[in-house]
């Protein structure tokens, strides 16, 4: 069996575990009230609508490549990362005022429709739709912890995993706060690299890799190498995300490619633009960037300016640089040779993806 087939099989197992869990909650929610069941149905729909399941894959890959042998027993721990991720996305979308995720309406988007008949005032309707999304995100966050508890491993290991999990959440929320404040803080804001480190690298890479390493019984030295690898790959991943946020194909990414422009999100690419662009171009850029009611034509012009200034190119070079740094640590991690191929696939997925 090649690694692609193996990882497809594992993904199917992770998904089966996730949906078994959500379906149990659906039943429990129905016994409370049909309206509570409805919220869980929407969670089910959103979870099924997309997602690369990259975090669960990283947990399992790291576990295996560091010598872990009982994949079955830790599937729920891998799945927990997807619940956490959905919760973070749901809350992130409220903060970013996005209503579409994975090409479908997210919780706030769907509840905007559900409440259309009962809440006539559009402003109030939006508020209540966001309230449902706050609650849905809370459920995912709590149930991520619950899914970890359901793993068939010794309780002492569960406690150890949960501590790593909590530190990952602490990190990602710090990154999320800095990211949000960067939108309006301008010059005084945290650097895009710091944000990428805490918001993405920590939670999408370091967290699942450290959980996998812990479960595999990795040494302290191995865990430190794993962290270095994860941080570099994570920053590359975030830079790719920033590029896709503006240059992505909406049909492929399933999310808007004007949101970051409207919000005026100060990514590394934007920092590069202000380093590299001519004063004329900066002036023109500033007219459109961060403008809430931007036209498609104006968004196109923003993209042209990012290309003309070589800011896009500089970002692509940074992606390559961080990816190379990550690759340089692989031998020191002590990876089982059988998993080098899959690790390479992960690196490519993280840094060269189009969605």
């Amino acid at each position: 069996m090649n690694t692609t087939t193996a990882s497809a099989l594992i993904r199917a197992k992770v998904d089966a575990n996730i949906f078994k869990y959500i379906d149990e909650r659906l039943k429990q929610a129905k016994s409370v009230d049909d309206d509570y069941e409805r919220l869980w149905r929407e969670i089910h729909t959103l979870m099924g609508a997309g997602g690369k399941r990259i975090r669960s894959r990283i947990v399992l890959l790291t576990y295996q490549m560091l010598g872990g042998e009982d994949v079955e027993s830790i599937i729920p721990i891998a799945a927990a990362h997807e619940l956490l991720h959905l919760g973070m996305l749901i809350h992130d979308d409220i903060i970013d005022r996005d209503y579409v995720r994975y090409g479908v309406k997210n919780i706030a988007g769907t509840y905007g429709d559900i409440y259309a008949t009962t809440v006539k005032n559009p402003e109030h309707r939006l508020h209540y739709a966001q309230a449902s999304a706050i609650l849905a995100g809370d459920l995912m966050l709590s149930d991520a912890y619950q899914l970890i508890l359901s793993a068939n491993i010794e309780p002492a290991k569960i406690v150890e995993v949960q501590k790593i999990f909590g530190n990952g959440i602490f990190e990602v929320i710090g990154g999320e706060l800095l990211d949000t404040e960067a939108v309006f803080r301008g010059e005084g804001a945290a650097s895009s690299e710091k944000i990428a480190l805490h918001k993405t690298a920590s939670y999408t890479f370091s967290l699942p890799m450290l959980v996998g390493a812990c479960l595999a019984g990795a040494s302290v030295a191995q865990r430190m190498q794993v962290t270095t690898f994860a941080q570099n790959l994570g920053i590359a991943f975030q830079l790719r995300d920033d590029v896709l946020g503006i240059f992505g194909n909406e049909d492929e990414t399933g999310k808007t490619n004007t949101g970051d422009i409207r919000e005026g999100k100060r990514t590394y690419m934007i920092e590069q633009f202000y380093e590299l662009a001519s004063d004329d171009h900066k002036q023109e850029f500033d007219q459109f960037f961060g403008k809430n009611d931007i036209s498609n034509e104006q968004a196109r012009r923003v993209r042209q300016l990012l290309i003309a200034s070589h800011a896009l190119e500089a970002t692509e070079q940074a992606i390559t640089r961080y990816t190379q740094k990550a690759r340089a640590t692989i031998s020191a991690m002590g990876v089982e040779p059988a998993y080098l191929g899959e690790l390479n696939e992960l690196i490519i997925l993280a840094t060269e993806r189009a969605k």
Copy 2:
């Protein structure tokens, strides 16, 4: 030592544990960024501004009254309930559009001030202030789980406690959803009793009591009695809360007594009003109730109508009824006689409080 002194001592220990934890996070947050530290400072301030610490007290009281003897070791688990509670309040306040809690500005309220210089548009400022509050609530929810992990008990017990904890969170969020939807659902909404059961009884009473019972090694029969006691006392507590939400003294409660009127919150007392009031009074009531820009004079009139219709009286009677039902289960719970006095204090605190 009498029980009041003992419970004051225990409260001091719970608070010491809570703030030790928050202070550690403060330091970690500072190493991320000063702006992240600021969020934790605001959490610290809000936690210190008030709170009856009723949930932690219930955990410890239940543990002791069912025979538990090592209070020190489970203090962090009691404290975890206060972190969870603060998180739920922070999110609840976003949903209710309240900006004051414990007589001081809550997270969204404080961040409205903090962002005043950088975000000129008041609507955007409010949005970002709420974003900070979403993140602060997420931190409390996750760190409630983390605090449980820090208890000095066997890991298998930690796993058991966390499962109860997760079910409590599942319940309270269901209740919160129904409560929110009841504001605008009108006739089709879930009954106030159902909401009280899931939103308050489950989480303020059943959850901490079941956690305490679990830690004390209570039998299944005892746990069932504990649940019956908790559900009845919890409904009485919620009814008292509803009365205070409209008739409370703002200086004592530390929160607005017009918010529920403005939101048109359909509590048991309001249901009773529609049962008992004359058609003229109902018509007059409907002009004011649920009106966002209500005057103090109109709010006073709402209160007069609730008194004149005997809706307030009927609610007080229901509080008495549920409290008596709770008392009737005490003997079956198998309470250590030394703790009967403190249990009685708890009942009085829950049902006769003025804040």
